[in-house]
């Protein structure tokens, strides 16, 4: 049996079998370190076990009763505050919703109608542009088509380059807080 096992037996503070107990006693007779460990542990646990139970102060219950009443009042106030806050928030949300829905100038109904008609108009413009482009592609001669594509393509490339350059310059100069 190695030294660590005996240390572990001592520190586990559990009942050992008769045979293990004898082995431990034999080891303790030879090993000063383990004997000291056991003696020190015994002393420490005796100190802990023999310490008296400390009674609560005499008026502990009265103080608790008083504090319970105060805390309950505080809790009721807190609940009342929370309820008032919840009710006022709900009232505000309902009022705001009613204004949004029913006030003619900013009502959600007129807003939704406006949105739908704008979308329809945009769709019509896109449709007209698409039919014009397809008519142009069908009817125009090849040299005109190439010219148009070169001009439009060149313009798009130039615009993209200008945009990229502006962004890059802004990033380099750190325009804003740091400048």
């Amino acid at each position: 049996m190695d030294h660590q096992t005996y240390k572990s037996w001592i520190l586990n503070d559990e009942l050992l079998s008769g045979e293990d107990e004898t082995q431990l006693e034999e080891h303790l007779a030879e090993c000063r370190e383990c004997a000291e460990l056991k003696a020190n542990l015994y002393t420490a646990l005796q100190m802990v076990r023999s310490a008296p139970q400390i009674a609560a102060p005499p008026d502990f219950t009265q103080r608790f009763t008083a504090s319970l009443a105060a805390r309950k009042r505080e809790e009721e106030k807190r609940q009342a505050r929370a309820l008032t806050l919840a009710l006022s928030s709900s009232a505000l949300v309902i009022a705001f919703g009613a204004i949004l829905i029913f006030l003619p100038e900013i009502s959600l109904i007129s807003l939704a109608t406006g949105c739908v008609s704008t979308l329809l108009r945009i769709f019509e413009i896109v449709q007209a542009t698409a039919s014009f482009v397809s008519g142009f592609v069908k009817n125009a001669n090849p040299s005109s088509l190439v010219t148009v594509f070169v001009v439009v393509g060149g313009w798009i490339v130039l615009a993209s380059l200008t945009l990229a350059l502006s962004v890059w310059k802004l990033a380099i100069k750190k325009v804003g807080i740091n400048s």
């Binding site: 586990n12 000291e36 020190n40 542990l41 002393t43 100190m47 802990v48 400390i54 608790f64």
Partner: protein, 187 residues
Amino acid sequence: MDPQWIEKARHGDDEAFTMLVTTYQTPVYNLCFRMLGEATAAEDAAQETFWRAYQNLKRYDPQRSFATWLLSIAAHYCIDQQRKQKMGLFELDEFPDFDLADPDIPNPENEVITNSEDEALHRLINQLNPPDRAAVILKYWYGCTEEEISQILSLTVSAVKSRLHRARRQLAETIMADQLLPVKEGQ
């Protein structure tokens, strides 16, 4: 303790709960005192324990021991308090009031801690980290089994065993290092 009182308290009877406070005040206070080592902090912790018990009484499982449930609340609260202290976190109302009591009038609570044996004991168990200290207090003062300690501290039984093993080694080492009490030869 008559389970009827617990049942009445669970149904909102404040008088029944006060009976429970009277019955369990000493074990709860003693645990807090041994954990925190100071009378004012111990009383605050014990009061807080009963308030938390009062608030959560509906969640108490009557199949469990009421004392174990209360000790669990107290132990967790004390462990939290000591962690906060260690990290330097205090709530404003947690600062102790200045003690304006007349120093000539003997105070039995303070007398306990000035007792040299108790000081030595406090120094001894104060070496342990709060959960280990709680495990030692519950085992050697309250005679709790490892199973009960595991329920109180919300740990597994093997974690409790390992904590107790470590705590015992630390206690023995502290005795050896500090020589709190002379070690008798051949013990």
